[in-house]
C-alpha cells in the first residue's frame, strides 16, 4: 500500500479535543465513606492548582458511600484533566460530569438582612417572588431561606444586597440526573 492512500489516516486531519469548555461544570463523585477521603480530594485540588467553586458532601442511600458534589469553572480548568486526576484516588468510585440539560441542581442559602420597619415589606415581597421563606425575625433583621439553582440564589443576593446584607451562608450545589420520561 502506498503512503497517502485514502484508507490511511491523514495527519492533517488529526485534531485534538478542546481542553477548556468555557462553562460551569458540576461533578458528582461517589466516594467510599472512609476517613481522609475529603482530605485526599481537597489535597489533590490544591496540589494541582484547581480551584473549587463550591463543594457539598453528604451521605447517599448506601451508608458505605458518600456523595461529593463540586462545581468548577470549565473556562479556567481542563475538566477532563480534573476528572482523570480524581479517578486516580483509590477511594473515588465514580465521577459524573453532569450534563446541564439533564441535571437537577439545587443549592440552599440563608441570608440575614437588615429590615427596618420601613423596608420590611419590600424585602418580604422579594422573598415571595423567589419563593423564599422567612425563617427568623428580629426587631431589625429578617433571616431568609432560599432554595434553587446557583443562578437563582445569585440573583436573589443581588436584589437583597442593597437593603443591607449582614450575613450569608450557602451550601454549594447538589445535583442529580433527571429521570427519563419512560422510567
Amino acid at each position: 500500500m502506498e503512503a497517502g492512500t485514502p484508507d490511511l489516516v491523514k495527519l492533517e486531519d488529526l485534531q485534538v479535543g478542546k481542553m477548556l469548555t468555557g462553562r460551569k461544570h458540576i461533578l458528582s463523585l461517589l466516594v467510599e465513606n472512609k476517613p481522609g477521603v475529603l482530605a485526599r480530594i481537597a489535597g489533590l485540588f490544591s496540589r494541582r492548582g484547581f480551584n473549587i467553586d463550591t463543594l457539598a458532601v453528604g451521605p447517599t442511600e448506601d451508608p458505605d458511600i458518600s456523595r461529593v458534589t463540586l462545581t468548577l469553572d470549565g473556562a479556567v480548568h481542563p475538566i477532563d484533566q480534573v476528572t482523570k486526576q480524581l479517578h486516580k484516588l483509590v477511594n473515588v468510585i465514580k465521577i459524573r460530569d453532569m450534563e446541564p440539560d439533564q441535571t437537577i441542581a439545587r443549592e440552599m442559602a440563608l441570608f440575614r438582612v437588615q429590615a427596618a420597619v420601613e423596608n420590611r415589606a419590600d424585602i418580604m415581597q422579594f422573598a415571595e417572588i423567589f419563593k423564599a421563606r422567612i425563617v427568623d425575625v428580629s426587631r431589625r433583621t429578617l433571616t431568609i431561606e432560599v432554595t434553587g439553582t446557583q443562578d437563582k440564589i445569585d440573583s436573589f443576593e443581588r436584589m437583597i444586597r442593597p437593603h443591607g446584607l449582614i450575613e450569608m451562608a450557602r451550601t454549594g450545589e447538589v445535583a442529580i440526573t433527571r429521570s427519563r420520561s419512560d422510567q
Binding site: A3, L14, M19, P35, K84, Q85, H87, V90, V92
Partner: protein
C-alpha cells in the same frame, strides 16, 4: 496470632523476601515479629537510605520494594524516598509505626501525621484503625503498588494495634477496591487509527520512557520499532528499554539529550509517546515543543494523556498490551519504508554534524566523560549502574550505552541527591549475581554516606565510583552559565577524605587522578571482594553539554 506476626506473614504471602528499615519505639512489635519471621531484613542507617534501597530493589527487578520505619522522625525521614517513588512510578510499600491509638492527635512523643504528610506523594495510603485490617491492607497495598501505573503505598500501623491478637487468614485473590480498576488493555480502534496515521507519517519518532521499563515491554518496543525503520529516542527513565547501540537509536532526548534526538522531535510530523509524560525536561518551552507534530500518546495512566501536550490519538493501556497490537496492525498495512528515506537522510546528517563529544585532556587530567567511558569499558557495558542527580547522572546517561532495561537506576523525576548509594545497595540485594556500580557525585554521596555502614555490616559488595569534582557540579554549571559566574555556596572543597571515610566504615578504597590508570583502577575495584569505593578526581569545571537552557526550545540547544 499477634497482628505484627500477621503483618510479616502477609508480607511473605506477597512474595517478599527482603525488607529494608530501622526499628524504633512505635514499630517495636513489628521488629519483634521480624526476629522469628523468615524475612531478610537489611538494617539501614537512615530511613531515607532504607526507602531508596527499597526503590533500587524494585527498579532492578520490577518486584515491590519494602521499607520499614518507626513513627515521627522515622516516618518523616522516609518522605523523600516516598516522593521519589511517586515521581518515578516505583512499586514500593512503606510500613511505618504510629503512636498508640489513644495518643493519636495529642502531639504524643514521636507522633507525626505521616498519612497526612505523605498524602500528595503516595499512590495510596492506609491508616490501620483495627488490627484485623492489617493482612487485608497489606494485600491491597501490594496490589495497588504493583498494578496500573506503579507507585508507593504507605501503611501506617499504630503500635498498640500491632500488638493485638488477631485471627490471621491469608488474603487471597484480587482485592475488592471499587474505585481502583486500572485500564491495561488498549482500545483496538484507537490502536488501528494510530497504525494508519503512522503509515502515513514521513517524519515519525518514537519517544518512549520509564513506562516501557515498568511494563517489561522492552522487547515489544524493539519489535515495534523494527517492524519498520522507526527512529527511537528515550527519556532518562527509559534508557535501556531500547538498546543504545542500535542503528535506529537517536540517543536520549531532553535537556541534556543529543541534538539529533531533540532536532528529530522538533521536526517530526508524528510523535509516538509510549510510557513517557512530556516532562518539562523533555519539552523545554512547551509552546514551541515539536510544533510540526501530531501526537499518539500511549500510557497506562489516563491522567498523563493530554496533561502537558494534547494528544491527537490517546491510547490508555499498558505498553506490554498495546505495543504488540500496534505492531500487528501496522505490519498489516505494509507501509512503504522508502517514505522514511528522506527523514533518515536528515537524521544521519544531524548525527554526523553533532555527535556527542568532548575535548579530552592532553595530560593526565580525567574528564568526567572519559570517566564514564572508562566505566563502560571496565564493566564491559554490563553493570547495573545507579546514580543520583546532576552532571554525573547526565554524563552516564550520555556515555554509558545502556543495552537492557533495569540496567540504569536513577532518580529522574524528583531528582534526589543521595539516591545512588542506597539504591545500589537495594539493587545488589535483589540481583546478587550482577555487578552493581553506583556512579556517585561527591555532593550526593556525602548526603547518604552513613549507608556505607549498611553495606559493610551486611557485606553487600556494591562498587562506588565517585565522580569527585569538589562541587555540586550541575548547580555550579548553572551559576556559571545563567548567574554570571557568581558561585554561591556550591564548592565542596576537599572534605571529606573519601578514602579514609570509606575505610573507616570498613570498605576497601582507592583514589585515582590519572586517566592512564583509571580503567585499571576500576577493574581492580570490581575484582576486589566486598564493598569498594574508587574516588576519581575529575576536571572540576567541566560542563555537561549539549543543553537546552531551562524554558528554551529544543532547536536552541547550546554547547
Amino acid at each position: 496470632m499477634r497482628a505484627a506476626d500477621a503483618l510479616c506473614e502477609a508480607l511473605k504471602a506477597e512474595g517478599v523476601e527482603h525488607v529494608f528499615g530501622i526499628p524504633g519505639g512505635a514499630n517495636l512489635p513489628t521488629y519483634d515479629a521480624l526476629y522469628d519471621a523468615d524475612l531478610l531484613h537489611i538494617q539501614s542507617r537512615h530511613e531515607q537510605g532504607a526507602g531508596h534501597a527499597a526503590e533500587g530493589y524494585a527498579k532492578a527487578t520490577g518486584r515491590v520494594g519494602v521499607a520499614f520505619a518507626t513513627s515521627g522522625p522515622g516516618a518523616t525521614n522516609l518522605v523523600t524516598a516516598i516522593a521519589d517513588a511517586m515521581m518515578d512510578s516505583v512499586p514500593t510499600v512503606f510500613i511505618t509505626g504510629q503512636v498508640r491509638t489513644e495518643l493519636i492527635g495529642t502531639d504524643g512523643f514521636q507522633e507525626a501525621d505521616v498519612t497526612g504528610i505523605t498524602l500528595p506523594v503516595v499512590k495510596h495510603s492506609f491508616l490501620v484503625t483495627d488490627p484485623r485490617q492489617i493482612p487485608q491492607y497489606i494485600h491491597e497495598a501490594f496490589h495497588i503498588a504493583n498494578t496500573g501505573r506503579p507507585g508507593p503505598v504507605l501503611v501506617d500501623v499504630p503500635q498498640d494495634l500491632s500488638r493485638a491478637d488477631i485471627e490471621y487468614e491469608p488474603a487471597e485473590g484480587s482485592p475488592n477496591l471499587p474505585g481502583y480498576k486500572p485500564t491495561t488493555e488498549g482500545n483496538i480502534k484507537q490502536i488501528r487509527i494510530a497504525a494508519k496515521a503512522l503509515a502515513n507519517a514521513r517524519r515519525p519518532v518514537i519517544y518512549a520512557g520509564g513506562g516501557v521499563v515498568n511494563a517489561d515491554a522492552s522487547q515489544e518496543l524493539i519489535d515495534f520499532a523494527t517492524s519498520d525503520k522507526l527512529p527511537v529516542t528515550l527519556t532518562v527513565m527509559g534508557l535501556g528499554a531500547f538498546p543504545a547501540p542500535h542503528e535506529q537509536w537517536l540517543g536520549m532526548l531532553g535537556m541534556h539529550g543529543t541534538r539529533t534526538a531533540n532536532y528529530a522531535m522538533d521536526n517530526a510530523d508524528l510523535i509516538l509517546a509510549i510510557g513517557s509524560r512530556f516532562d518539562d525536561r523533555i519539552t523545554g518551552k512547551l509552546s514551541e515543543f515539536a510544533p510540526r507534530a501530531k501526537f499518539v500518546h500511549i500510557d497506562v495512566d489516563p491522567a498523563e494523556i493530554s496533561k502537558n501536550v494534547p494528544a491527537h490519538i490517546p491510547i490508555v493501556g499498558d505498553a506490554k498490551d498495546v505495543l504488540p497490537k500496534l505492531t500487528r496492525e501496522y505490519r498489516a498495512l505494509k507501509a512503504d519504508t522508502s517514505r522514511l528515506d528522506e527523514w533518515w537522510g536528515q537524521i544521519r546528517e544531524w548525527q554526523a554534524e553533532h555527535p556527542l563529544g568532548y575535548a579530552d585532556s592532553s595530560d593526565s587530567v580525567i574528564k568526567p566523560q572519559f570517566m564514564i567511558e572508562a566505566m563502560y569499558e571496565a564493566t564491559e557495558g554490563e553493570a547495573i549502574i545507579t546514580s543520583d542527580v546532576g552532571q554525573h547522572q547526565m554524563w552516564a546517561a550520555q556515555y554509558y550505552h545502556f543495552s537492557r532495561p533495569r540496567q540504569w537506576i536513577n532518580s529522574g523525576g524528583l531528582g534526589t541527591m543521595g539516591f545512588g548509594l542506597p539504591a545500589a545497595i537495594g539493587a545488589k540485594v535483589a540481583r546478587p549475581d550482577d555487578t552493581v556500580v553506583c556512579l556517585a557525585g561527591d555532593g550526593s554521596l556525602v548526603m547518604v554516606c552513613q549507608e556505607f555502614a549498611t553495606a559493610a555490616a551486611h557485606d553487600i559488595p556494591v562498587k562506588v565510583f565517585l565522580m569527585n569534582n569538589g562541587y555540586m557540579g550541575m548547580v555550579r554549571q548553572w551559576q556559571e552559565l545563567f548567574w554570571d559566574g557568581r558561585y554561591s555556596s556550591v564548592e565542596l572543597g576537599d572534605s571529606p577524605d573519601w578514602v579514609k571515610l570509606a575505610e573507616a566504615f570498613g570498605w576497601s578504597a582507592a583514589r585515582c587522578d590519572d586517566k592512564r590508570e583509571l580503567t585499571g583502577a576500576m577493574r581492580d575495584a570490581l575484582e576486589t571482594d566486598g564493598p569498594v569505593l574508587l574516588d576519581v578526581h575529575v576536571d572540576k569545571t567541566e560542563n555537561c553539554f549539549p543543553m537546552i537552557p531551562a524554558g528554551a526550545a529544543a532547536r536552541d540547544m547550546v554547547g
